[in-house]
């Protein structure tokens, strides 16, 4: 009997001992250690709709354009394109010159060159975009080209009908004039084209590699970006190492006025990438991610909601953390959270229910919402457009912004439901997650104050989506993050023809709005377009298909040894700018 006891004890102690003798991996000292909040689905540009997978992809792959790392509002600049494109007078033809000497990463799939990566050409772009359109790819990224590039939609439809995709069939709007010249012809002017050419689905992939790896390509990505894929343990971590053959690209020399003071220009003009590689660790739960940061395992962390009070006091980092060399950065995210009403619904939808929706908008106290659920890290939203997006109008004051219970009650009466009488219980759809559930509960409680009863249903994410897309959800809450820095990306959410299953899930359809949208869609950025945008915003504010809640702010902690961090949700290829001071790291880690 005692023998078993000893055995168990020995086992436990041996495990404890091995766990105490941590092996320090010197090899990864100069690497960026970056936590990722969700499990990565795959590293293939045809599937880049989730932020986390896209972040990993953006380091491996390259694109024609990118956003300037430091300038705000975000401005687009050439990356692999040799200068800005030549744009025809009618704005329907873009001619890109592609830089010479941009090579794919070395990989065994390049059999002709014995594993050495070959040069990226215009043909590679056309192949890669056809791959996004290929029905067999079941890509989620074709919306950026669909209906925009001439004949591309027909190309996809024909491929779908044929049951087999013929890549040799040309797309009328895409032409490789020579190896370094790509000519794009559009159906109609598309002012957002340069923005979408920064996105992952426009990145070039090599045909040889896609064919070599087949469906396993997503686990063996081969790109032309600053980092090479090294290894990936699914649901655990991805290691990328510096691409030794990365072409000449340097750290920007100018930025916002405050950048120099913040030390963001210390590495100006230096060759990128500034570090040896990156380890992305997938950590889905908040606590381990945050604690690992505090221990110095990760270089960077967002502050979880419930750790906020012990981290930040009076909008400043607490002294304990500051003394450890940790720094706090505050950034506003280009997003909006909202409650949406299905306009097809007989109770909450349509012009006749306008006052009901306005009344519900008036019950919410944005300040209370922000303090309770966001620790003050948000600003109230008066319309759909976030503050840092071109087209945002700071003078906009939404007249239905709460809290104003008196006005809400008056409007409810006007809607035909005095004190909520006669109004059936409203059905609110949400998806699982503790914080989200509490926010909905808050809304439910506020609505009850004017006599409106709300029933909440918690769905899994796919259930939630399909209810929306099938127009079966009466009300639901969501957030929308910008795909690119143009207010059009938010206004399209109200464009009638975009109704479910498209992105306009409130199914708002106002002919006047649609007309304005069509007009603005082909206009370049400028005061004239902004004036139209404002008119469109006024329409949705009055019709209230959404309750506009807030624009979120993000407070990010970085360690003293980790430099050049500047956040923007749209800039995904940011890893190449970071430096890791390993001498300082060793020193600071002792304090943690």
């Amino acid at each position: 009997m005692l023998k078993i006891w000893f055995l168990v004890l020995a086992l436990i102690t041996s495990i404890t001992i091995t766990s105490c003798t941590k092996k320090e991996d010197k090899e990864y000292d100069h690497f960026v250690h970056y936590p990722i909040k969700a499990n990565i689905k795959g590293i293939d540009p045809i599937h880049s709709s989730d932020l986390y997978s896209s972040t990993v992809m953006a380091q491996i792959y390259s694109a024609l354009m990118q956003y300037n790392y430091l300038k705000r509002p975000t401005t687009v600049e050439p990356l692999d394109a040799d200068g800005m494109p030549k744009i025809s007078k009618d704005q329907k033809t873009y001619t890109f010159k592609i830089k010479k000497g941009i090579m794919f990463h070395d990989n065994p799939c390049f059999k002709a060159t014995n594993g050495k990566g070959r040069e990226v050409t215009a043909e590679d772009y056309i192949y890669s975009w056809k791959r996004v359109a290929d029905p067999k790819s079941v890509s989620d990224g074709f919306w950026v080209f669909e209906g925009k590039i001439k004949g591309f939609k027909q190309w996809q439809e024909e491929a779908s009908k044929a049951g087999k995709t013929d890549y040799s069939k040309p797309v009328p709007g895409l032409e490789a004039v020579d190896s370094y010249t790509l000519k794009i012809t559009l159906e109609k002017p598309y002012p957002q084209l340069l923005y979408v050419l920064t996105m992952n689905q426009s990145s070039p992939v090599a045909k040889e590699c896609v064919e070599h790896y087949g469906p396993e390509y997503q686990n063996n990505p081969v790109g032309s970006g600053p980092y090479k894929f090294k290894s990936w343990v699914r649901n655990s971590k991805i290691i990328l190492e510096k691409n030794p053959n990365y072409r000449q690209e340097t750290y920007p020399t100018t930025g916002e006025p405050t950048d120099a003071a913040n030390g963001l220009l210390a590495d100006a003009g230096k060759k990128l990438p500034l570090n040896e590689g990156v380890i992305f660790t997938e950590v889905v739960e908040d606590q381990p991610r945050y604690l690992n940061f505090r221990k110095g395992v990760f270089d960077i962390a967002e502050i979880p909601k419930d750790n906020f009070d012990t981290t930040v006091k009076n909008d400043e980092l607490v002294p304990e953390l500051a003394s450890q060399g940790i720094r706090l950065g505050k950034y506003i995210d280009d997003d909006v959270t909202f409650e949406s009403f299905n306009q097809d619904d007989p109770i909450v939808g349509g012009a006749k229910a306008k006052h009901l929706r306005q009344a519900l908008s008036l019950v919410i106290d944005p300040q209370e919402l922000i303090t309770k659920f966001y620790n003050g890290r948000a600003v109230p939203a008066h319309g759909p457009i976030p503050p840092s997006i071109s087209g945002y109008d700071p003078s906009l004051k939404n007249p239905y912004k709460g809290p104003n219970l008196e006005k809400a009650k008056a409007l409810l009466k006007k809607a035909g439901y005095p004190d909520g009488k006669g109004l059936p219980e409203l059905q609110y759809e949400t998806y699982a997650g503790s914080t989200g559930r509490q926010i909905v509960e808050y809304f439910q409680q506020r609505a009850a104050l004017i006599g409106v009863k709300i029933k909440i249903t918690v769905n899994t994410w796919p259930e939630f989506l399909s209810k929306q897309k099938k127009r079966r959800a009466q009300m639901f809450g969501m957030a929308w993050s910008a795909d690119y820095p143009d207010a059009e990306n938010f206004l399209q959410l109200f464009y009638g023809p975009n109704g479910s299953p498209g992105p306009n899930n409130s199914n708002y359809n106002n002919p006047e709005f649609n007309k304005l949208y069509d007009k603005a869609a082909v206009m370049q950025d400028g005061p004239a377009r902004n004036a139209i945008y404002r008119k469109m915003v006024d329409l949705v504010v009055e019709d209230a298909p959404w309750i506009f809640n807030i624009h979120r702010k993000q407070y990010v902690l970085t360690h003293g040894w980790f430099k050049n961090y500047k956040r923007n949700m749209m800039i995904l290829n940011h890893i190449k700018y970071y430096t890791v001071d390993s001498a300082l790291k060793e020193q600071l880690k002792k304090k943690l």
């Binding site: 495990i15 091995t18 941590k22 795959g42 989620d140 669909e146 950590v283 690992n292």
Partner: protein, 311 residues
């Protein structure tokens, strides 16, 4: 005996067949719709149609069922809808980390709980027994989240005894990451197991033969260890074997919090994403293991208890 085993193995076929029908009905006929999620936030009617076609969702149900049956038979479950991974690869990748955590933890739990339950039975009429029993019930009422959150905060973060989370696939280097979740596993499950074994042993204690043994003048220790334990092995083995199929899936919450890339997290993801091919594959494998474990436990019981006959 061999004939019995063969007969039981043959019986696997109708049961597994039933399982495939039930899972198919549950997920393909009444289940959710994955298309909208796969499409991303932009999308159009035409694209949905294309997507449905590529996923085979527009084919008639009997055809879809036959396809699923074929997958089960050939053990080739196709690809995940959510991540497009080969499901067989996912399973082989996840089973290692899961079992590295679950098997040692399970073993330690069983050994400790058998010892503890004998101890309890030994003091069965005293306060000690009641106290331990209350303690065990309390243990089953405390959420695993408490152990995880406190364990991570104090043992790993404050006192630095373990890494906070993470995993390394190296054979030596994985244990440092698994130690803390293993300890938590034992702490969480021991109460339940002890209660189970305690009642199994207690049922034997009151049997006639025990009285006879005592009457013959054997000491309580000998009676308990030699006679009672041996006879209460039957229910204990049965309950242990029933838990074996669960071992491959590891522990959902522990894996999520400790970043262990095992099957538990995979199931959680698959459920959250309506990833039916993965769910169906897991259900199929789970049920096959369940039936096999059932058979194994019957055989084991017959080895320790010769009174049991096959029929």
């Amino acid at each position: 005996m061999l004939a019995y085993v063969a007969r039981r193995l043959l019986y696997l076929i109708p049961v597994i067949f039933g399982v495939t029908i039930l899972t198919f009905v549950l997920f393909n006929v009444v289940g959710g719709d994955p298309v909208y999620q796969k499409m991303g936030k932009h999308g159009s009617e035409a694209e949905i149609k294309i997507l449905r076609h590529e996923l085979g969702l527009d084919r008639p149900l009997p055809e879809q069922y036959l396809f699923y049956l074929k997958q089960c038979v050939t053990f080739n479950f196709g690809r995940s809808w959510a991540t497009n991974q080969n499901i067989t690869d996912m399973l082989t990748a996840g089973i290692g980390p899961s079992m590295s955590l679950s098997i040692p933890a399970f073993f330690i739990t069983i050994v400790l709980s058998i010892l503890l339950s004998i101890l309890i039975v030994f003091f069965r009429n005293g306060l000690m027994d009641k106290l331990l029993q209350v303690f065990c019930i309390a243990g089953t009422c405390i959420s695993v989240l408490v152990y995880v959150i406190l364990g991570q905060y104090f043992f790993a973060y404050k006192w630095g005894m373990f890494p906070i989370s993470g995993y390394d696939s190296g054979w030596d280097s994985r244990w440092q990451f698994l130690a803390l979740p293993m300890i938590i596993w034992v702490a969480v499950s021991i109460g339940y197991e002890v209660l189970l074994y305690r009642s199994a042993i207690l049922e034997e204690v009151f049997q006639d033969y025990v009285r006879t043994a005592r009457a013959k003048g054997l000491t309580e220790k000998v009676v308990l260890l030699k006679h009672v334990l041996k006879n209460s092995l039957t229910p204990i083995i049965t309950s242990i074997m029933m838990e074996v199929p669960l071992l491959i899936t590891g522990a959902l919450v522990l894996e999520a919090f400790f970043g262990i890339p095992g099957l538990g997290g995979m199931i959680y993801q698959a459920v959250a994403n309506s990833d039916f091919p993965v769910i169906k594959a897991m259900t199929f494998i789970g049920s096959v293991l369940f039936v096999l474990a059932n058979l194994a436990s019957d055989l084991l019981v017959s080895l320790v208890d010769p009174r049991v006959e096959f029929n």
